[in-house]
Amino acid sequence: MRPWDEMYDASGHVRPGRKRLATALDTLGPDELLARARLRDAHLSAQGITFTLSGRERPLPMDLVPRIVDPNEWQVIEAGVAQRIRALEMFLADVYGAGEILRDQVIPRRLITSSAHFHRQAHGIRPANGVRIHVAGVDLVRDHEGTFRVLEDNLRNPSGVSYVLENRRTLSHVVPEVFTGHRLRSVEEYPARLLSALLAAAPLGVADPTVVVLTPGVHNSAHFEHAFLARRMGVELVEGRDLFCRDGVVRMRTIRGSEPVHVIYRRIDDDYLDPVLFRPDSVLGVPGVVNAARAGAVTIANGVGNGVADDKAVYPYVPTIVRYYLGEEPLLPNVETYNLSDPDQRAYVLPRLDQMVVKPVDGSGGYGIVMGSQASDSELATAAETIQADPRGWIAQPIVALSTSPTVVEGGRLAPRHLDLRPFAVNDGEKIWVMPGGLTRVALVEGSLVVNSSQGGGSKDTWVLGSDGDELPPLAPELVVDVEGPTFSAAQIRSANEARARVDQPTFHSERVRQQEMQQQQSGVGPC
């Protein structure tokens, strides 16, 4: 089964829409690509665009070859992601409310109540605008037929969006040549969209809500992203110790005393969020914040307990969830998944572990994954024992041959490497907006199918090409300087520009002075 390649078709021809890119890469050649790669590394390190792995800051390796998504492919992804989030929002509202889907026995109640991320503490919290999934990152892979499939949903703290924005800037700094002739959709809007979604989620009746980003602190692997988002939204980045609850209201400590906080975009896991209700030893959280949210004084984004909807054991039910709530067929299919708490499915999977990927249901970051085809016999035996000890804790999927894209490897050569795609969606309660682009993660090791940055993965800038209807025609030069207001016409502005006087220093050394000065110097060095 040959994996789908994003650049070349099965017969080795460049796919439509990729010719300019292929030519640009050819023109650069291996030596130049290597030189640019060095430039990129220096740039990323100096800019501190890093993630922290085992306590060390490292630049997230960004490949110089962008990944192109066609407009028609994007339409499917955009609609499919939005559909999924819409259904999962209804699912969360249901399981933390009336529980109809459980009563109708569409999903086994045990599956929900046994989820590590199903938090009874979240029961009865009603978000002001009904949104629990303010931000989602939905991981997609592309199978050998070129179909995008959902691999997992990230509805708690999906990270990586800062790299999407930074990758675009870095790439245009380092290899501007590859942009020529492409019309890309911009990703710059993301922070503004996120801020407006967070403002829309504020408790009712707050005229000018205060939004903050809550970070675990500078040692967290995604701290760069937390700082990035706070800065780009123009809001405070706070740590747990900057906040406190009094009389059911969350406040932050400032030099002018304390000020109320209305929306907390928290990048802290549920377990650490509130020592009153979750881990009592948490020093990162804010005691009482969940009760303040329940009382409607503050909005926590993303919602508490969202993890039940991205639990990997719930994942096989998502197509059912879409049909149940929306009465629609899912636009993006799942990857076939075996639920190992089902004895029949378990019996099918265990002898075939070498053809499967086994994943912990509540894991992230690629930790704990066993890739059957690459595991030794003893590793497989250990995996089988682990599954039998805790079948609810694991799922299995047949290995999907992730699609590949040319990637710069040793010596500046281009070679295919496997990749996935994480589009980011923002829900403001009225519309689910999917950022045109997303984080493409690439497994830099030859043949590897694990793309997580914690496991040696890199990233690629992801280009969603504008469709024809989306493009603006070039403006006629006459229209260029079109100002509002009646006072100035375009032509006047332009002539004002032309006439704008540049003040420069009068040439203070006339030619004669210069020559005489030079002669003085010359005679000065001669013998007297």
Binding site: P176, F179, L472, V481, Q505, F508
Partner: protein, 306 residues
Amino acid sequence: MLSRIAEAMFWIGRYVERAEATTRMLIEHHQLLVEDTRLDPAVGVEAMLQALSLMPADPEPGALTPAALIQIVVGESADPKTVLGSVAAARENARTIREALPIGMFERMNATHLRMQAGISTTIPGIPLSGLLDELSVVVGIIDWQMPRDEGLVFLRLGAALERLDMTSRLLAIDHEGLWPQVGAVTALRAAGGFNPFLRTQRALTGEQVHAFLLLDPTFPRSTLQTAIRAERAVRQMGTYVSAQQTSTLLRTVGILRAELEFASVNPTPADLELLSARASEAAFVASDAVAGAFFRQAGTIVWSH
């Protein structure tokens, strides 16, 4: 202080500021032209060149590419409107008063000037141009750390403030939102180093808000209001070294500008903003003339002819 030294100080202030502001504008607009190709690049290049008074008279069709923008604006040492030219002019002024400057200042400017002679790649200009900004900030750091707080510094600061008034008004002359509806306003802010300060104070990222911010924000160091305040302060300090008569035109010019900006309408219309920007540019011009008239050598060197 010798007039000649005051004059050189004034122009060092202007040209260092010009080099910095032009470079920052160039980096951001070049990046914009690379990333956002919805607009014909030639139109964007022309808008930028017009604003910098660097538009060639009769460009060949197809000549106005992003690479050409880099080439024209980086320019050459002989043309002080360009990046290379303003670096060279600052360095040349520093050379003539080397003895009056803090140790290391001319040397720093000289090293930058020499390095720039090697040119800037027109294909990947972003990183070397950012390097130039770093080097210029070292020059400003030396001024801040080491220069005596005397009349020389006052002339330098006035020069820098007048140049900044002019450069901000040039930036505002580009219709960012009309040309690049998606990211134009952000680019205008970035080109002034004002993106993050803006986000901390405002929410609506519209062209109008951006213009109001760049003109009237009371804390942003590159806003026209802040700059006018600094120009006025420099002139008042100058008044402690010279007679009141010498600074009268100058003080009136920058003082009126500062007052117009400080007491501008809280909800300015686009036409108000346009007018204020034009006033700032004009005031910078008049003030520069007034400084030269009051303090610098009047007519260059008198040359006796036969």
